[in-house]
C-alpha cells in the first residue's frame, strides 16, 4: 500500500499542529462556535447528542496491520474501546473528548492516518472497491488513481469551501461495489475501442434527501488528464453550485437544474485551459503505482489439498467459505470478509480487542493488510486457501465469522437517534431486532442476496433509497415512524427504490420486514432473488400484504 514520503508526512504533521492551535483558540473563546465548526468538520469532528464524534479517513479503505493496532489503541485510550465503520470506508469514534482530539490526530499521524476532510463542505475521502487488485476481471487497479486523487484533493486551497460536500469513488471492474453512480463523481476504469485504458466519468449522483443516479459527463478520459478534469468539474461546481439553500447545494442539483449538456460544455471549456498544466507525468504515475504492485504470491498455493478436505469435513466452515469469501485472481488464494454484522450487535461496530486480533490475523494470513468496505465490513484480501480454516476458527472465536455477507442480516445502518444529532428516529436497536428475528442461518441462505439499508433520517447516511429494502426513520409529531422503499440497488445497475406506502409505526417495523420476506418466498420463481422478484412483480403484492390489516 502507499507509504508516505517526507512531503506527505510533513503535511499531516502540520495539520495536527494547525488543528491543535484552532482547538486552543476555540476553547479560549477566540473562535466562535460558528467559526470553529467548519474547521473541526474538516478534521472529521462533529458535536453530537452525547459527545463529539470523530470520523477518521481510511483512504479507499486500505489499512496496514499497524494502523489497525493504532486504531485499537486510540479507541481504548480516548474512547470506550470500540469503533464504528462507515459506508464510506472510514471509521468513527463515538465518545472522544474535544480537548483530546489534537492528541488523537497526532497519534494517528504517527501511522500515516488522519481525519482530513472526512466531513465539511469539501472533497471527502475517495472510496473504491474492497477487492481492488485481486479481481481476475479487473480492467486496471483503481488504487493508484484513488491515491492520486487523495493527494490532489487534500488541502486543495480553491475547494475548501464548496457549496456542499463532495464525494468521489473510483472502480476498476464492471461490477460496482463502491456505489459509484451515487457519488458526486464516479470514475470507472474502462477500455476504449483502441484498447486504451482510461476513465468513464460520471457526475451528479447522490443520495440524501434527493437521491439521483449519476450521468456520464465524459465517456472516455485519458488517464494522464484525470486531475485536470476533476479540477475543471470542481471549479465549475464551486462557482455555479447553489449557496442559498443547503438542500439544493449538491452537484446533483446543479446538474439537474442546468442539464448535463450545459454542465459538460462548461467543464470541457474549463478543462482545455488547464489540461496541460495538470497533466500527470508518467514518472509520477509510476511512482504511485509502485506502491501497489502485485504481491509475491505463493505460486504453489493451489496445490494444497487440506482446504477441500476441511470443506467436506466441516459444514459450518463450508457455509462460511461459501458466504464470506470471494474468488481471487491468484489460484489458491481467496478474499475473506470479516463480518461486522454479528446478530444482535450494532452493524459496523468492532471492539479494540477484536481489532487487535484482526491486526494479528492480517500479519499471519493476509500480507499485513486489512480493507474496509462500503457495506461496513472488513476484508482480508490475500488469504491462501490452506490458511482459511485456521483463519475461520480464529474469526469465529471473536464473533467475526457470521456467515451472512450479502444476506438479510448484512444490514447497512446509520448510528441513528442513539448517537446522531440529525436523526429523527432510532435505527440500530431496530436493526438488531431484525437480525435477531431473522438470523436463522438456513432461513438467511434460503432468502439469498437481500440488502436492507436503514437510516434514521432523510439525510440517508445508510443509503436506504438504494436498499433492496430501504427503511427510513421519520418524525411524526414527536413519534418515530418508518418509511419503507423496495427495489433499490447501488450496484452497476443502480436504481432508486419505490415507496411502499404510508409510514409504519416503530413497533411494526420488524413484522413489516417479515411480511415482505413472506411475500417474496410465496411469489418467487425458482432461484429468483428478492430484487429480481420485486422488479418482475412491482411493489403491489408486497404493499397488499403489508397494509392488509388497514
Amino acid at each position: 500500500m502507499y507509504q508516505y514520503d517526507k512531503y506527505d508526512q510533513t503535511m499531516i504533521d502540520q495539520r495536527v499542529a494547525q488543528f491543535r492551535d484552532q482547538t486552543r483558540r476555540f476553547l479560549a473563546g477566540e473562535l466562535t462556535e460558528e467559526q470553529f465548526r467548519p474547521l473541526r468538520l474538516m478534521n472529521g469532528l462533529y458535536i453530537q447528542i452525547h459527545a463529539p464524534m470523530l470520523r477518521v479517513a481510511i483512504p479507499y479503505g486500505l489499512m496496514s496491520s499497524n494502523q489497525v493496532r493504532k486504531i485499537a489503541d486510540v479507541s481504548r485510550r480516548y474512547d470506550k474501546g470500540f469503533v464504528h465503520f462507515t459506508t464510506r470506508q472510514n471509521f468513527q469514534l463515538n465518545w472522544p473528548k474535544l480537548e483530546d482530539v489534537p492528541d488523537i490526530l497526532a497519534d494517528l499521524a504517527s501511522v500515516q492516518m488522519h481525519a482530513i476532510q472526512s466531513s465539511g463542505n469539501c472533497i471527502r475521502n475517495t472510496t473504491s472497491d474492497q477487492f481492488a487488485g485481486i479481481n481476475a476481471n479487473e480492467i486496471e487497479d483503481p488504487r493508484p488513481w484513488a491515491e492520486l486523487i487523495r493527494q490532489w484533493s487534500t488541502f486543495h486551497p480553491e475547494f475548501a469551501y464548496l457549496p456542499r460536500k463532495f464525494k468521489i469513488a473510483v472502480i476498476g471492474t464492471k461490477e460496482d461495489r463502491a456505489a459509484t453512480q451515487l457519488h458526486d463523481i464516479g470514475l470507472h476504469l474502462v477500455k476504449n475501442h483502441d484498447g486504451e485504458i482510461g476513465f468513464e466519468v460520471l457526475v451528479g449522483g447522490g443520495l440524501g434527501r434527493t437521491p439521483i443516479v449519476g450521468q456520464v459527463i465524459r465517456p472516455f478520459l485519458e488517464k494522464k488528464d484525470l486531475l485536470s478534469y476533476l479540477e475543471a468539474i470542481l471549479r465549475v461546481y464551486n462557482r455555479l453550485g447553489r449557496r442559498d439553500n443547503k438542500y439544493k447545494a449538491r452537484i446533483k442539483i446543479t446538474v439537474r437544474e442546468h442539464g448535463i449538456n450545459h454542465i459538460r460544455e462548461l467543464v470541457e471549456a474549463e478543462w482545455v485551459q488547464i489540461r496541460s498544466q495538470l497533466e500527470l507525468a508518467d514518472g509520477e504515475i509510476e511512482r504511485v503505482k509502485s506502491h501497489f504492485t502485485t504481491p509475491d504470491y505463493d505460486k504453489t498455493a493451489a496445490e494444497d489439498e487440506t482446504f477441500e478436505a476441511m470443506l467436506a469435513e466441516d459444514a459450518s466452515f463450508a457455509r462460511w467459505v461459501k458466504q464470506n469469501t470471494v474468488e481471487h485472481k491468484q489460484a489458491g488464494y481467496k478474499g475473506a470478509y470479516i463480518s461486522l454484522k454479528a446478530h444482535g450487535e450494532a452493524p459496523g461496530d468492532v471492539s479494540s480487542e477484536q481489532l487487535e486480533v484482526i491486526a494479528e490475523l492480517a500479519d499471519e494470513f493476509s500480507l499485513g493488510e486489512v480493507r474496509s468496505t462500503h457495506n461496513q465490513n472488513l476484508v482480508f484480501a490475500d488469504v491462501k486457501q490452506a490458511d482459511l480454516y485456521a483463519l475461520w476458527l480464529r474469526l469465529e472465536a471473536e464473533k467475526l465469522a457470521t456467515p451472512n455477507m450479502n444476506t438479510l442480516t448484512d444490514i447497512i445502518c446509520c448510528p441513528g437517534l442513539d448517537y446522531c444529532g440529525l436523526a429523527n428516529a432510532t435505527s440500530i436497536p431496530l436493526s438488531k431486532q431484525i437480525t435477531e428475528r431473522f438470523g436463522d442461518l438456513d432461513y438467511l441462505f434460503d432468502l439469498g442476496d437481500i440488502k436492507i439499508k436503514f437510516s434514521g433520517c432523510m439525510n440517508g447516511c445508510a443509503h436506504q433509497s438504494v436498499g433492496h429494502i430501504g427503511i427510513l426513520g421519520v418524525d411524526k409529531k414527536g413519534e418515530e415512524w418508518y418509511q419503507f422503499t423496495l427495489g433499490g440497488s447501488s450496484d452497476e445497475n443502480a436504481t432508486l427504490g419505490e415507496r411502499l406506502g404510508k409510514a409504519i409505526p416503530k413497533e411494526e417495523v420488524v413484522d413489516t420486514v417479515g411480511h415482505l420476506l413472506d411475500t417474496y418466498v410465496d411469489l418467487r420463481h425458482e432461484d429468483e432473488s428478492f430484487l429480481a422478484t420485486v422488479r418482475r412483480l412491482g411493489i403491489d403484492p408486497f404493499k397488499e400484504r403489508v397494509y392488509a390489516d388497514n
Binding site: 463542505n121 490532489w152 486551497p157 469551501y161 507525468a281
Partner: protein, 159 residues
C-alpha cells in the same frame, strides 16, 4: 486602517466608496454596478481605481476592463462562501492580473493560507485585533500538493 499585505501589517489608504457616495479624489474602490454605470467619469478620476467583486458578479464580463484597476477587492459575505477562491486563482493565472487582490468581509485567520495560495495578497481581517497572530497562518503548511498561484508547479512535478 491597518490591513495585512504581503504578509505584513501595513497602513492602508484605499477608500471603499458606497454606490451613493460622492466621488472623491484619491485611491478609491467601487462596486461593479457603479463601474458599469459611471465608467466614463471613473476613468477620468484623479487617483487609482479599485473594483469590488463578489461571487455573484460575473467575473468574465469584467476582464476587458481589468487594465483600469490597481486593486481588485474580493468580497466574502461569509467565510464559508468559497466562490472567490476561484475568482482569485483565475484573475492571477488566466487573466494575468498582477496588482493587489484583497479579501474583504468575513475574512478570518483560518482561511488566510488557502486564500494566499489562490493569489489573494492582502486581507482586511474581520477582527483586526488578532492581526499579528494571524500572520502565523501563512506558514500553516510548507507544501501544497496542488498547482497554486504561489507554487504553480504541482508537487507531483517536483517530487
Amino acid at each position: 486602517m491597518q490591513i495585512i499585505k504581503d504578509r505584513e501589517i501595513v497602513e492602508d489608504n484605499w477608500v471603499h466608496l458606497d454606490d451613493d457616495a460622492t466621488l472623491i479624489s484619491g485611491d478609491i474602490t467601487v462596486s461593479l454596478a457603479r463601474w458599469q454605470e459611471q465608467h466614463e467619469a471613473l476613468v477620468k478620476h484623479d487617483g487609482r481605481l479599485g473594483l469590488r467583486l463578489s461571487g455573484d458578479d460575473p467575473l468574465e464580463e469584467i476582464i476587458p476592463d481589468l487594465a483600469h484597476f490597481s486593486l481588485v477587492v474580493l468580497v466574502f459575505p461569509a467565510f464559508t462562501d468559497g466562490r472567490c477562491y476561484s475568482y482569485a486563482k483565475l484573475l492571477r493565472e488566466r487573466y494575468d492580473f498582477t496588482h493587489e487582490i484583497r479579501a474583504q468581509g468575513d475574512v478570518l485567520h483560518d482561511q488566510l493560507f488557502y486564500m494566499s495560495q489562490c493569489g489573494i495578497n492582502s486581507f482586511e481581517l474581520a477582527n483586526p485585533n488578532r492581526m499579528a497572530y494571524a500572520l502565523k497562518a501563512f506558514d500553516d503548511f510548507s507544501e501544497s500538493y496542488q498547482s497554486t498561484v504561489l507554487r504553480p508547479e504541482p508537487l507531483f512535478k517536483r517530487r
